[in-house]
Symmetry: C2
Subunit: 430 residues, 2 copies
């Protein structure tokens, strides 16, 4: 069942080829359609596809003289992003055939930048753990990760150059790692989450998948108008804090080795890499993440819990049963810990540009009924820090292993530059 690696579509490369007249926007949609025809039946990345509509919009985009940066670039949207012209089912039978009245804000931002929505990708139910049909393109017996299962798999299978995710625990970085693609979760609220189904309002963060680090940076720059492109100059040499975290023992031998390999590659490329221990307050914050997520989920999903309980899956129901028991004092304590932990993390980062740490405990686990564990993501999501999954390594069985670059809150460009530096250091190694 192990499949050959697919050829990834780089949005930067495609944008350059469109600009150079080597390919038309419609031609890009054709590339996507071919990859989808070849692999969608077995990968199952999409819940909805509109290839003909995308071609029509690609022809319209091609007529524009002043090219938008993502002109004609096909995008897959995790099916928690509202779209006015496609169904949006949040991965749940409770929303079968649901048609929102409007687009989510990031969808408008992508369309304004010239992006073309090719379809909606599989999400676990309400971005929690009730899995969908998606399989890992690298080995169909393995999970692609979740909750942004279809988006990571679609990019990994070369079906689309860009796809959006969202992260409340580890739902952007983990699937990126398991599927071997670049994944970027910007700082909390850098990209609005308006019109994305809310899981936990203090945590939910936009995310995006692409072939490489420069691709996700390019796309985020294009949609936000922010100076985040990292493809126009060599990235500066970063000062890296190597953070094993207190759950290092939960990382597989392969993952521990991947971090060692990355640290060596970074040093060989001239970067400083200093082993750094997190203070106990950040361990407390790591634990506080779950309390905050559950308390807020009990309110965000109150309508579904009260009115649609029979239609939601057992894993979602179990989570909401547990969430209903989290009291307001417990929540307030957790928020206080998070509030104190953010400046503590900033202090720790005073002498470092980024942190290097695992994206996940290891490669994608066997089976598609569960999406793996997000424990290496909780803390950074709660801290609102920009995170990048850097692809490029794999285990003995050829399954991708992702290493994570965590930046300082609000310093997204530095995080992307360091991630690009890391990606290149790993590439030079092989």
């Amino acid at each position: 069942m192990l499949s050959r690696p697919d050829r990834l579509l780089s949005c930067l490369d495609l944008a350059r080829r469109v600009e150079g007249g080597e390919i038309t926007p419609e031609g890009i949609v054709d590339l996507c359609a071919a990859a989808i025809a070849a692999r969608e039946d077995e990968v199952g990345a999409f819940t909805y596809l509109d290839i003909e509509g995308a071609k029509k919009r690609a022809r319209e985009e091609a007529k524009h003289l002043a090219a938008a940066p993502l002109r004609g670039m096909p995008v897959g949207l995790k099916d928690i992003y509202d779209t006015y012209d496609m169904p949006t089912e949040y991965g749940s039978a409770a929303y079968k055939g649901h048609r929102p009245a409007s687009d989510a804000a990031p969808v408008s931002m992508l369309r304004r930048a010239g992006g073309i929505i090719l379809g909606k990708t599989v999400t676990t139910e309400f971005a929690h753990q009730q899995t969908g049909k998606t399989r890992n393109p690298h080995n169909l017996e393995h999970t692609p990760g979740g909750s942004s299962s279809g988006s990571a798999a679609a990019v990994a299978a070369g079906m689309v150059p860009l796809a959006t995710g969202s992260q409340t625990a580890g739902s952007v970085i983990r699937p990126g790692a398991f599927c071997g693609v670049a994944a970027f979760k910007p700082s909390y609220k850098l990209i609005p989450t308006i019109g994305m189904k809310c899981y936990a309002w203090s945590l939910d963060t936009f995310g995006i998948y692409g072939a490489g680090v420069a691709d996700v940076a390019f796309a985020t720059a294009a949609m936000s108008g922010r100076d985040l492109r990292v493809d126009r100059a060599a990235p500066p040499t970063p000062r890296v804090a190597l953070v094993h975290t207190h759950i290092w023992a939960d990382a597989s031998a392969d993952m521990q080795n991947a971090i060692d390999v990355t640290a060596r590659a970074l040093r060989a490329a001239g970067a400083s890499v200093k082993e750094t221990t997190l203070p106990p307050l950040l361990e407390d914050a790591w634990r506080a993440h779950r309390t905050i997520m559950l308390y807020e989920a009990a309110r965000s999903y109150a309508f579904e819990y009260d009115h649609k309980r029979d239609l939601i899956g057992p894993k979602t129901r179990d989570m909401l049963d547990e969430a209903a028991k989290v009291g307001v004092e417990t929540y307030d304590d957790a928020r206080r810990i998070a509030k104190r932990a953010r400046p503590a993390l900033a202090d720790l980062m005073a002498d470092h540009d980024v942190i290097l740490t695992p994206s996940a405990p290891g490669a994608a686990p066997h089976g598609i009924g569960a999406t793996g564990v997000a424990s290496f993501n909780w803390l950074w999501t709660l801290m609102g820090a920009p995170c990048v999954n850097v692809p490029g390594l794999s285990d003995g069985a050829g399954m991708p292993l992702g290493v994570q670059i965590v930046g300082r809150f609000g310093r997204d460009r530095a995080a992307l530059e360091a991630a690009l530096f890391t990606e290149r250091a790993l590439a030079r190694r092989s």
Copy 2:
């Protein structure tokens, strides 16, 4: 056109009477229905009413043995709160007949607390300034304020004991002041805004109207499960900072007098009242509010701007035209000012429990084509501080004048206690 003052419905009083068996939940709906029959034609507070449905739910609530705190309490919802069982039009022709798939989180919280949704109240379009049909119950030639126009007017006309609002600039406190009812805007994110139409995600805050301060405290406590009730003991004597702000000259003579009267009443009741000047950084923050609001509105309302421009009103369109011009650097500068201003305000408040300042520049202006000015609200919204409009004063023409109690972020109970203390001090005075 000056009308007699209506008899307000106190939710606390009604809850006590339900508990004591003096009135049934259905009887409360009857009280609301009578006031609506008497005044809705001229006040125009509602866009949608379901009195029969409310009676049916009231009869069901009456059967419950374990009484929820708001059991059978009718609530009006500003029509930016999504409801699965009532149309939700956001005050806009662009959403004529729109039926959301689910309830907003605060709606679920109100229903769980036993509240009964009686109907949807008039909002200005997308909670900005394009006005609806609502008139001020105290004088039909005057605005009720906005954007929560219908909610404040419905409570003021005795049509409903509770109604929700939302504040992005001054949309909770100002209508409360203009209509002479208690209004409470809790700390930013104390109550989630999930399922409320987003205007600006850094600013949007839930709000609620009731007859008096103890009523809005009771309702917020009931829906949040937080210890916010202030009706069970005499409120402690507050230390009050009297803040005129740099726009004091914009306040009418009547409003300036109302603040003087309040300060005297507070002192007479034993409170300390110290005149306090805001540092220049807080003036900068006052200016930064508009930048943040516009930048975020350009993204929150991107879909409507791009796809429904012909259906939105000229004031909304003008705002969004201006919003489109706010650049990311301007926004980031404004956010940095806000971030520095919050601890500066906390320092200023170290020796005070609350601030006393106007709720609005004066009484409700003549005419219903505009909703008045929110300049006395911008800073506190941006700071995320809990704010209460304390009713009880009026100008020579009998129009209400509201004074504002602003608390420290996260100290909502102290803000409500000080507001209750103020309300009682003003009542003793007359």
